[in-house]
């Protein structure tokens, strides 16, 4: 078991290093940092002096080391557009993205799993057909289109919910939350449904196909042959075997929610990191791009690691194999 953890941690580290390399290459070599920071009139000597001052003439390896060092201290340089430290910009917008992502993930799980179970157990009911069609729309339609349609329906036509912004937020320590105000909650509805719809459809289909597969397994047949009631066969046996692989994939999906937040934040003008990243891409603001890359990579890698470890906890075959106790 320990060997497994170490191996996974090592893999995670590898990914981080590769990403850091890419981020650094972006940061240092794409576009000229000096050009971004000074005006056209600045003389060549001043540029050279600035270059030296920023350490841009040091050997590449040294610069890379400094970059990593800075990253570990949350120093990612300053944004070209806003002339502010990147970390400040991130800190300001981090809660918005996290709340949105979290609520979306919750939404997708709370609706996706039961819907998946239902459509697996009642394969021929009209409700299943309906849900499957809805889920197909969920995974076929691009996120931004769903957002626009929802805005059109609920904000423009019906006027029930706001179409942009977070509403009123409450500051708790360094975190700002929209969960404690009515307008904050109302503002959260459309964006999180938009963001979560794809995931919900995905999870529903995943649960459905996995459960159908599980229900065909021999141990389910044997459970029925033993006369166990349907309720126990379906919800005790089949469900557990279904959720184990689903849970890992769902966990990984959480990471992609954070990425798709870019789109949702754009549609709803949600003041999160995704919107910040998009502006950076549009304006070639390299420091933000590279820092975002590092941050997102870190989050993904951590999520992947946690999910892997979770698998070990939940599946006894992996857990016990590691203690290698096969009794004869």
């Amino acid at each position: 078991m320990l060997a497994f953890i170490v191996r996974r941690a090592f893999q995670a580290l590898l990914v981080m290093i590769v990403v850091a390399l890419i981020a650094f290459t972006l940061f240092r070599f794409v576009g000229d940092p000096i050009n971004q920071m000074v005006g056209i009139e600045t003389s060549a000597e001043d540029r050279a002096a600035l270059r030296e001052q920023l350490g841009l003439d040091a050997p590449v390896l040294v610069q890379f080391a400094r970059f990593i060092w800075g990253a570990m201290h949350f120093d990612f340089g300053a944004s070209y557009q806003f002339k502010q430290p990147v970390i400040d910009l991130f800190a300001e917008r981090f809660p918005a993205t996290m709340e949105l992502s979290f609520v979306s993930a919750l939404f997708s799980l709370v609706f996706g799993i039961p819907m998946g179970v239902y459509t697996a157990l009642h394969r021929n009911s009209w409700l299943s057909g309906f849900l499957l069609t809805v889920s197909l729309a969920g995974i076929s339609l691009p996120t931004f289109l769903i957002g626009i349609l929802l805005i059109f329906l609920f904000a423009v036509t019906l006027g029930w919910l706001p179409s942009f912004g977070r509403g009123d937020t409450v500051a708790i320590g360094f975190w700002t939350t929209g969960l404690l105000t009515i307008s904050g909650l109302k503002a959260l509805v459309l964006p999180s449904v938009t963001l979560g719809l794809f995931q919900m459809a995905l999870i529903m289909r995943l649960v459905r196909s996995e459960m159908i597969e599980v229900l065909r397994a021999d141990y389910i047949k044997f459970a029925r042959a033993r006369g166990l009631p349907d309720r126990i066969v379906n919800f005790h046996h089949a469900l557990k075997n279904t959720l184990v692989p689903v849970m890992t994939i769902a966990g990984l999906q959480l990471g992609s929610i954070i990425a798709f937040a870019i789109i949702t934040e754009t549609v709803f003008q949600w003041p999160g990191m995704g919107l910040l990243f998009l502006r950076a891409v549009q304006n070639a603001d390299i420091p933000i791009m590279s820092a975002y890359l590092l941050l997102v990579a870190f989050i993904f890698v951590v999520i992947n690691l946690v999910v892997d470890l979770l698998y070990v906890v939940v599946d006894p075959r992996i857990r016990i194999d590691m203690r290698s106790a096969v009794m004869r």
């Binding site: 590898l14 197909l136 691009p142 931004f144 626009i148 059109f152 789109i263 990243f277």
Partner: protein, 317 residues
Amino acid sequence: MSVEPVRGFGFSAQRRWFADLLDSDIVYSFWQSKVTVVAALVTLIIVLGAALAPWVAPHDPFDLKTLSLLDSHLPPVWQKGGDARFLLGTDDQGRDILSTILYGSRLSLAVGLMSVAFAAALGIALGLIAGYAGGAVDTLIMRAADVQLTFPAILIALLIDGTAHALFGQYTTDSVTIWVLVLAIGLSFWVQYARTVRGMTFVEKNKDYVLAAHLIGIRPSLILARHILPNVIGPVLVIVTINLALAIILEATLSFLGVGLPPTQPSLGTMIRIGNNFLFAGEWWIAIFPGFTLAALALSVNLLGDWLRDALNPKLR
């Protein structure tokens, strides 16, 4: 489905093969599912419309000489103020929405197909190399794949797109953007192909007929192309069906976000972006019609893909 050996390539043999195909379970399941038939129909209409746009569209939305700002913001023909010349209305530049949809679909489909072709070519090539060469080459390619798989395609596409703009920003014209887009989307999707092909190459590599070919002295590239590649086509096709819809959506998303196709050469995504600004002003047609077309296209391609995967999956028969 019975498989009979085709004795020679006479016309009767081909006709029999075709008759068998028409009678096969796959085609049967196609006609059985009304939804799939409708999806195929919709896809066909959109594809034909897109391909024949220059001949079918009532206007050319890119010919600046024909545009007039006086014609802008016109609603669809059935609403008050509509103009029979512009069936679905016009946008803020005076462009006919219907024509722009046709040309836009053309671009969307073109980018989608090209990027999938690129991703498949790259992925298959890398997969074959990794599977056949093994060792360090294999590890390198697969590690790269693993790292890339940690991230969703959109992030990668955005990154490549942004980097390209940062590097070449001042040098690019609008027409280069399409290639940047194909590159960005294609590079986001090669991994699935590479992994699948590599796995199969691994298996095939150790089979006797490959070893025999190797012994005779046939070049590896020839072995790969003639023996391994044909076996790999099946699973690749399945991936393509999933990929195509994803590529179309990704292009639309990038265009919507403003880093895809520009307004001068709009795809469906770009049009929706433009139209989004006018939603609250009540000019819904600028965004909704392209949106509807995109939705129909994405849904239909997905449905077709679903049916194809089910039909090709022996487990579900």
